[in-house]
Symmetry: C2
């Protein structure tokens, strides 16, 4: 973690620096062009400091992605906030460079995520950037509020970015890797020769989990994902990719491993949790950590929610005892009081990163203006790895090229209209349309590095 040792004194230093050194990051300066109507001061964002009467502090503005209500992609608006936030003891101000998009942000948008305050609220549970006071490059984990150019967070929620890691990678790492790590190594107690079933194996958590499995000798990974992603996940270490859309994954697993699995990571919930339980070997561990099955369509789908509740898994201890089974629940959002545990996990993950054993896989990077498209990419199941938002201003020419696809029609001001054709957004039909999306080569260096490593690997073989 960065600068948490002497929060009180350091805070003063930060405050002073803020006054004397307003524009440390020229690139991160708010462009002031793009802007939906600016929100009034929000509950979660510290309002402009009323006591400090420095004019500059008052004129300070920054962009934020605000959830304005529950519903479709258009509920997330890019707004301009005014007034430089003040810091409390133990907090730091981070100039945000990149943000991670998580499945929970999609759930939150639909009102299905209980760790998010009611709208209006700034979204975002992870980001990377620079601590303004000291210039440290950090990644940040928070319950919400990180999708903005300037974020104030407890210093204990920041982690130093190691040498050689890009801001995109750093924004992609915390949630997925801490989640995968704690599930596999704390609850799962993963050991050599074991077998692990990873659902959504091409997703953010899925790829992190696969990489972490591969740090243990002779672990076999079974992974479910849409067929188009199988090549990537196979290369990433999944021995048995399973297309759950066209096949019964339980049968597929049993064919290969009749006794079942040692560990199953279940982000789906509902009836899939039952299936997972039945697929466990003796001494097997089921770790349930999500209810992706609740998400169907752009807006809350009551049928999907009801189905998930109806199939909600409940276990009797007698069944656990007779089966020699373990059922664990994991939720990073409820671990915010346990920063020590999280730091321990993070330190190990960063060590593995430095050893080249894990590396976030970036699916695509989007401007803040494109958050709807970014969300759509994940929600329509087209991402492989992490979807990233960047705070870099969007070049004028890209704005003319503009959003992408049919997203345009939803992009502006249709907030509360019930125009939400669920069939279209069901994810199963609209796939592939996104495939042609152009990703922007913003940072050359990290990509070059990646290529170098891949070449090196090929040479080894």
């Amino acid at each position: 973690m960065s600068g948490e040792d002497a929060p009180a004194q350091q805070q003063n230093a930060v405050d002073q620096k803020q006054e004397t050194k307003p524009a440390e990051e020229p690139k991160a300066e708010p462009p002031k062009t793009e802007s939906a109507p600016a929100a009034a001061a929000e509950a979660d964002a510290t309002p402009a400091a009323a006591t400090e009467k420095v004019p500059e502090e008052e004129t300070f503005t920054y962009r934020a992605l605000v959830l304005t209500g529950h519903g479709g992609y258009d509920k997330v608006k890019l707004q301009v906030k005014k007034g430089k936030p003040t810091l409390k003891a133990g907090e730091v101000l981070v100039r945000v460079k990149a943000c991670g998009l998580n499945f929970a942000d999609l759930m939150a948008r639909q009102g299905l995520y209980d760790r998010m305050p009611s709208p209006p609220v700034t979204l975002g549970m992870e980001c990377s950037g620079l601590v303004e006071a000291v210039g440290d490059k950090v990644m940040v984990l928070n319950r919400f509020g990180l999708w903005q150019e300037v974020a104030v967070v407890p210093a204990s929620h920041t982690f130093l970015i190691p040498e050689g890691m890009s801001f995109e990678e750093a924004a992609a790492l915390p949630v997925n890797y801490i989640t995968a790590y704690m599930m596999l190594f704390d609850f799962g107690n993963l050991r050599p020769n074991q077998s692990v079933l990873v659902h959504a194996a091409a997703g953010g958590v899925g790829i992190a989990a696969t990489q972490l499995c591969k740090t243990v000798k002779d672990v076999t990974v079974f992974g479910t994902a849409s067929a188009s992603k199988h090549e990537t996940i196979s290369q990433g270490g999944v021995e048995h990719p399973i297309d759950y859309r066209t096949k019964d994954y339980v049968e597929e697993v049993r064919k290969i491993s009749p006794k079942g699995m040692d560990i199953i990571l279940d982000p789906l919930g509902g009836s899939d949790t039952h299936k997972a339980y039945n697929l466990l070997k003796p001494m097997g561990k089921l770790i349930t950590y999500g209810t992706a099955n609740m998400l169907a369509g752009q807006k809350k789908n009551l049928l999907a929610v009801a189905k998930n509740w109806y199939h909600q898994f409940s276990i009797h201890t007698l069944s656990l005892i007779q089966g020699n089974k373990s059922v664990c629940g994991f939720h990073l959002g409820y671990l915010d009081g346990e920063m020590e545990l999280i730091s321990q996990a993070m330190n190990t993950i960063l060590d593995l990163y430095k050893e080249g054993k894990v590396k976030p896989h970036i699916d695509s990077t989007w401007h803040m203006e494109q958050v709807g498209d970014a969300m759509r990419k994940m929600q329509e199941r087209n991402n492989i790895g992490k979807v990233i938002l960047t705070t870099e201003p969007m070049p004028e020419e890209e704005k003319k090229e503009e959003p992408k696809k049919e997203d345009k029609k939803d992009d502006k001001k249709k907030d509360d209209k019930k125009k939400d054709d669920k069939k279209k957004d069901d994810g199963k039909k609209e796939e592939k349309k996104d495939d042609k999306k152009k990703e922007e080569p913003k940072k050359e260096e990290p990509k070059k590095e990646e290529e170098k490593k891949e070449e090196a690997k090929k040479e080894e073989k």
Copy 2:
């Protein structure tokens, strides 16, 4: 494990030896005196080999402790079986020296243990002895059938006794230590600085668990037990002994550790499982492995059973997820298909034994004739550590001294009478009466060794 490499060929060797070498263990020869009416050939014991017509095989007899029906202590009868058992491929014949008494044997007697066939059946899930064919000293783990002078078991269920371990210790080790080990290190994933709540901390599993906890740095053990046992368990490593009979253990734990426990071992079931669940820290693990609460009185107590069922714990995944909790069920009796896992655990345990880090604590050793008293000692909650049965013949003078206490009246032939005063046997009232019971100094060596080690420890301090 002993002699499992080439079971088929070895079996032949064993068979031949049996024919030529009938009485390898003079001491273990059946004394032919003590005998309740001999049982007819039982389902679980291999009947006299009809095909081999060697007279000696036919005249071969051995004593066995047979559960003749469900009920009080008197349902377990010492019977003489006739005919030397034959061996199937992969099996070995063990001349039994000592047997471990387990809580499950008490439950089985009452018809509350589902891994035991219906009576008549020979009890006993662990013992130590000599493999007749090769002379190896082994300990044995089996679902049932080991409380007899001669036991036929799969070679894979035997483990070599290490140098310096007595037969009593060897009979005390398998069930308690494998159970404690797999719970703490497989499901529990115990790590330095964690806290563990051990119920029945002065019992067989409880002492094993405490010792195993102490092999990990800075683990704090909270243990419940009757007050009279606190001194012993404190010396054994329990930092916080709690008298659950006079105090609310949940409150006591919270006073010392307000956030709760990292691991809770729950052998009680019913409402105690709920309490355990609520006492878990985030990322905590509850391992439930018994329903001792079902046992009240000599015979099945329907009220206790009903209460346990009524309070039967069932968990919703949503609660697990929001709490970041794990609930595991463990049952060694259902792991009989997993001898590889069990062997791995056993090997580690034996290494720890050799390093002097674990050592079974023997409460008392009883002759086969005294099985009722032995059971009573455990059931009335008077044991500290393991209750052992020995197959050594009971000296004549001891027979005159005879059983002990009010047991006499139940000792013979009251099989099916409903005379079972539950109040008296409730365990809470009758305590201490057993305290004066004289233990027989059958083996001098192990005791001397123990004393030596204790002296050494004192000198260290």
